[in-house]
Amino acid sequence: MAADYNDMELMICVASRFLEDGKLVAVGTGAPCAAAMLAQRRHAPNLMVLFEAGGFAPILPSMPISVGDSRTTHKALLATSMDDIMSMCQRGMVDYTFLGGAQIDPFGNLNSTLIGTPEHPKVMLPGSGGANDLASLCWHTMVITPQDKRRFVEHLDFLTTPGYLTGNGAREAAGLPAETGPYKIITNLAVLGFDEDTRRMRVEQLHPGVRLEDVRANTGFDLLVSDALTKTVPPTEQELSELRTHVDPYRYIIGR
């Protein structure tokens, strides 16, 4: 029997499945942190979580509200510096990171700096924070985001954080570490990946009840479709139970 769940629960459950045991993941607050905590409770008990402000491998008692708050070092292995965490990413020790943004383009580049133009911004946003760094330096970048035409745009107003830049080989040509880049984009409609030849976004997995045309209708650019298009396995009772009972019992994230 299919379980009842909302979009946020679906995205968190699907995202958590991509996190392998024994790996390292750099997260922020919110859904990414919930996905990592869920993975730890399910298939990846030895997944280590790190926070750019300096927390490494905490046993998270609840959702942190800041990337630097006390919860990020609760029963942790290390309380260190941003330099140390970011250097760890730059050395090639960090497998995954999760990011978000106001806009994402076909190559997985992200904008979290401004809407408008740099000379005449209509809306100022917070800026890169550590997003540019983590997407430059971690092996695989993942994004959890609702999907609509306002967010999924052909051209960003500002390229804050690198995806595949202008396509295949562009990251390496710019000097970014080889074999890094966007990995999976997890939305309320689908899981999107990137074509190996063009590095453009493609649909890889459709969520239950979602048709390809629904995904296209909510994307502001042409989407490729994977030859091996699959259907997302709905969140299981076990996943939802862990998520609701242990990961986010007060529904701070899944209640949004």
Binding site: T29, V67, G68, S81, P118, M124, G130, L137, L159, Y250
Partner: protein
């Protein structure tokens, strides 16, 4: 090393280590008592035009006590290093204290949402902005702490973040790959809140360090605020616990709960209700002006602010919250502070 490409915006501070050495040459090495009030520290060490960096991260371990004093004294014209500056940025924005900013992360308060107060200041007061990233700001301070003009790194490359920064890209003489050069950042002033300090400024931090060890060493002047003063003998008993040595420090201000409404690791959790109040009041300009006047501008000192916010009773609640009272390490469902938004 030829420059391949470079950011188009200016540096807000001089990365020349010779100029920094000339300043550090004159910096006092004598271990003298430096304890003073927040008011005196700001009078002596905060000047219009100074490049200021605030320690720690977000609303965690911030020196709220000094930030309030800066805006109460109506100091303006600062340059601000915004490396994940959240409530600190909001306070300085409310006081229109800075007119130029190296941005890594400003305006937002992380999971709590965006600050209209900060946004109004940036947009309306036409603040000059230069783009950077959190790692870039940390490594710029690292370069300054090392006494060199830049550090090479592999972030920022290929993006508008680089285009609208003052970084330069060169070809690595060893590997032939492009590398970004992050210019050293020698702040005129750092303000860092710590757990414990002796009267000379030898300081201890518990929990994450963020960039504070480098920040203290990179800055020409440093104000340390501390939760409590400890005996000098205690520093000498356990020197491995010292994060910031006295010779970096120009002023020591004892300020219990001095990071409120921020989170002081191991001491007290953030007051999410009060931070929410700032964000809510900030939505309406007139509403906020009245709030800001009552809570900051018209208060005699930081203690008066703490009293307005519930005094010792509230501080004890936040201390209890920091200790995660539930035996499972989870919060009591009735105590949603710090988590709800």
């Amino acid at each position: 090393m030829d420059v391949i490409t470079q950011g188009t915006l200016p540096l807000l501070s001089d990365p020349d280590p010779e100029k920094a050495r000339a300043v550090f040459k004159k910096k006092s090495r004598s271990m003298t008592p430096k304890v003073m009030s927040a008011s005196t520290a700001v009078e002596r060490f905060v000047h219009p035009g100074d490049y200021l960096v605030v320690g720690a991260f977000g609303a965690v371990r911030i020196p709220t006590v000094i930030l309030h004093e800066i805006v109460r004294k109506h100091i303006t014209g600062l340059k601000f290093g915004g490396h994940t500056a959240t409530h600190d940025c909001q306070i300085l924005s409310a006081g229109h204290a800075f007119d130029a900013c190296d941005i890594a992360y400003v305006i937002g308060l992380e999971a709590r949402g965006l600050s209209k107060i900060s946004r109004r200041h940036f947009e309306r007061d036409d603040v000059e902005v230069i783009q950077w990233t959190n790692a870039a700001m940390a490594w710029r301070l690292k370069a300054a702490a090392m006494g060199i003009p830049f550090l090479p790194a592999r972030n920022m490359l290929g993006t508008d973040t680089l285009e609208y920064s003052a970084a330069k890209v060169v070809r690595c003489p060893y590997t032939n790959h492009p590398l970004v050069l992050l210019p050293a950042l020698y702040p005129d002033l750092a303000i860092i809140h710590v757990h414990e300090a002796d009267i000379y400024g030898n300081s201890r931090i518990r929990g994450i360090l963020v960039a504070d060890e480098d920040l203290a060493r990179a800055s020409k002047k440093v104000i340390v605020t501390c939760e409590r003063l400890i005996p000098h003998e205690e520093i000498r008993r356990a020197p491995h616990l010292t994060n910031i040595p006295y010779y970096c420090v120009d002023a020591v201000v004892e300020a219990p709960f001095g990071s409120y409404p921020g989170n002081m690791p191991g001491e007290y959790f953030s007051d999410e209700d009060h931070l929410r109040l700032w964000l809510d009041k900030g939505k309406d300009e007139q509403d906020f002006e009245a709030f800001f006047k009552k809570y900051v501008l018209d208060t005699a000192d930081f203690d008066a602010y703490l009293q307005l916010c519930g005094g010792l009773k509230r501080m004890q609640e936040l201390r209890r919250l920091e200790m995660l009272p539930d035996e499972n390490g989870r919060l009591d469902p009735d105590q949603t502070n710090g988590q709800a938004n």
